[in-house]
Symmetry: C2
Subunit: 499 residues, 2 copies
Amino acid sequence: MAASPYQQLEEEFRRVHAFRGALALLRWDSAVMMPRGSAEVRGEQLAALETECHAILVSPKVSRLIDRAHANSQSLEDWQLANLREMRRQRDHALATPNSLVARLAKASARAELYWLEARRTNRYADFAPHLAEVLQLIRDRAGLLGQHLGLAPYDALIDEYSPGVTAADIDTLFKSLARRLPTLVREAIDLQAATPSLPITGKFAPAKQRALCLEVLKAVGFPFDRGRVDESEHPFTEGTAGDIRITTRFEAGDPFQGLLGALHETGHAMYDLGLPKEWRDQPVGRNRGMALEGSQSLFIEMLVARSRPFLTYLKPLLEKHYGVSGPEWEVENLYRHLTRVRRGPMRADADELTYPAHILLRYDLEKRLLSGELSVTDLPEAWNEAAQSRLGLRPANDVEGCLQDVHWAVGQFGYFPAYALGSLIAIQLWEKLRAANENLDDEISRGQFEGLFTWLRERVHSAGAKLTVQDLVKEATDRPLSAAPALRYLEAKYLEPR
Amino acid sequence: MAASPYQQLEEEFRRVHAFRGALALLRWDSAVMMPRGSAEVRGEQLAALETECHAILVSPKVSRLIDRAHANSQSLEDWQLANLREMRRQRDHALATPNSLVARLAKASARAELYWLEARRTNRYADFAPHLAEVLQLIRDRAGLLGQHLGLAPYDALIDEYSPGVTAADIDTLFKSLARRLPTLVREAIDLQAATPSLPITGKFAPAKQRALCLEVLKAVGFPFDRGRVDESEHPFTEGTAGDIRITTRFEAGDPFQGLLGALHETGHAMYDLGLPKEWRDQPVGRNRGMALEGSQSLFIEMLVARSRPFLTYLKPLLEKHYGVSGPEWEVENLYRHLTRVRRGPMRADADELTYPAHILLRYDLEKRLLSGELSVTDLPEAWNEAAQSRLGLRPANDVEGCLQDVHWAVGQFGYFPAYALGSLIAIQLWEKLRAANENLDDEISRGQFEGLFTWLRERVHSAGAKLTVQDLVKEATDRPLSAAPALRYLEAKYLEPR
């Protein structure tokens, strides 16, 4: 019997999935292994593969098959219907971006990433700026075309790529109450914490020791070392594909926690990937539900699990073992105070959970202005510094602590940052639900048992793949609509707690 | 103006080149970085990319363009004509292998390589055998189809992939005089050397120190670290693409030279790649002239350059520096005796220059018998051991020292081994010519100056790309036809030299 239109579509998307897996590895290699002088060649490879994926999605064959599969959709099961919807969504996004633009974007962002790495090293934003400008112009073209095609404002069209179905207006609504309460909450928390200072944690912690600690913790957490890798790179990231997931982190001798927490953050992504429905792993519906959900999973581990007394109870003997440390500053309560310290700082990646949203709002505003043309790439450093002054209450010492700190824009990821904010709200709403459902959670975490936690996340979140919209997924997982209320409850309880 | 058929062909082959570059990286990663459990997923990616390359080559579009470009070939320059010939050659090879076979081969060989790595570790050939059998059957199918299409015997068709235009009969002719003289020459050399034993070189040499020494030597040799990497893997290899070349080696604490010589061997490949004509780097004519030429370049460095008194004069102070060694056994003459010691041994990779051809003849015979079905995969270990007894004068202690020592067959490379033998003859013929042309060569090498040497190779060999046939390339480079006579002269002079 000949393959049905739907089955033929699955075959086409299986090819796309394989090429995307290859792309993921090429990108991972670019950041972790590749010699500097190979950027041009790598850019050509990335461009050829992106172009090929794009060509499949926009091919008349795929559009014809989608139409025919829709005409026969009564014979499809729920998952297949959702898969068909995701196929159409990917096709629509691709159709809205012409082939030549895809290839130019791939090349320009590969180049810009290299220059970003260099500029971060030398603190010379000016060397990076022309490459960012090139990427921005291409993204602007893309946003216009995408918006036209999808009937969305240009910026909303970009957001849709990362947080399917979510608009800037949705984010504004979700964030309004949070934005109103946060400034006073930050101030109150800082005042309160001033009364209970933590003992300073100082010293040098050899990267090799940090790596060993990190690997032991990741093993307990359940990171799939047989189908994944943990490496080091300038900026922590997760790359790879279902069945070959690769995370990176960065160890700094002066900070015993940053590398570990970075790795735990990325492990949240890796565990999401691991929990996706295996039978759909090479199909659109079997992938993650966009970056907002991804963000929720990484923040869940880094912020909610790892910066808790139960987790630190588990961690304490491991710190003693690997770092050979002891003393009052290494007691659980002091570690907890240290790691939940609210501090106005310039770096998003180092930000505490309470000031983190401010970092996102800053980027959210600036990228809107960059895209609209209201802000030029040349003026970005100064605009960043001013925004930091007003939103974070400080001025970055240099561009490395300012507009050079994130890779996202260099690689064309405009519309991505809001997903972090959304992810934070989702994470807390999931956390509140999980705690209500499992009264032994703290106990399990303090004993280094993470299986129950991940089983719950797998059942409630991961296993849904891309079957539901973001909002429906959160509602099914937590039995109520996504809102900022759980986040406010959680942050007030955690940061205004009498100590 | 619309692109000409020839220009359109260049564009198609540029895509093939980019996909092959991606394939090269995926393969490198499989052997050096990839977690074990990801083999299945990687196999799918390799298969999808191989299938895509294949689909381009066999597409009606490419065949049509080739015909039209031929019809207008009077407007093409020499290089373009040669490029067109190479395009046609690749197309013919591809047309002879159906798509499904390409994909099955890619998957089966990815799997077999993993099992080979494991079997090498455990010395359990039986665990590997079914996977080798699967690859062999697929290769047999391929050889039949290829031979039919190209009008060649099945085995000749496979050889043609690695040594374009060369047949088994050519190799037999070239090797006849060598095969006749070698057995007595080996015996005479062993007897002669018995009278002048070298002082034993023993001790443990930490891999980290070996790595540091290796990197310093490779830097002097000119390995392009800005466009390449040096890593470690089970079996040394070169992978990658023009502009991102990656070699591996293996350091063993008990042997201070093996890792270095392995790296120098692979560096021969890397320097060939580096010297290919840049303006043609993404076209068929800009690639290497097959594995026989590749083999000549690696053996040139490992055997002719590195195992010479001038090179050891250069190396001696580096050994002192990195290994902290001194004493009579580390004097140049003793090192030379040590590294040119003729010894009957089981491992090809460890073989000296004089017994090396016997290792190739052994494989050459066995792979012919495996392909014809005269020898079964199950019987391979015993057949190997018997052949080793008669050709090498010894019986391997186990399969790791026998039929498990090389990766080639696992990954489907039947017809490859003869290229090593051919490569050895070519290397020596080039060496004889270079020495006659540059009387300062020894002097330069002993001072660690390799630029003159590589400039000569670049001008005479590398820069020709795939413009000429193997035989014409050797003739142009050395001003005489390829023969075994220089090899016999060289080996007699070197190994029957009165010491």
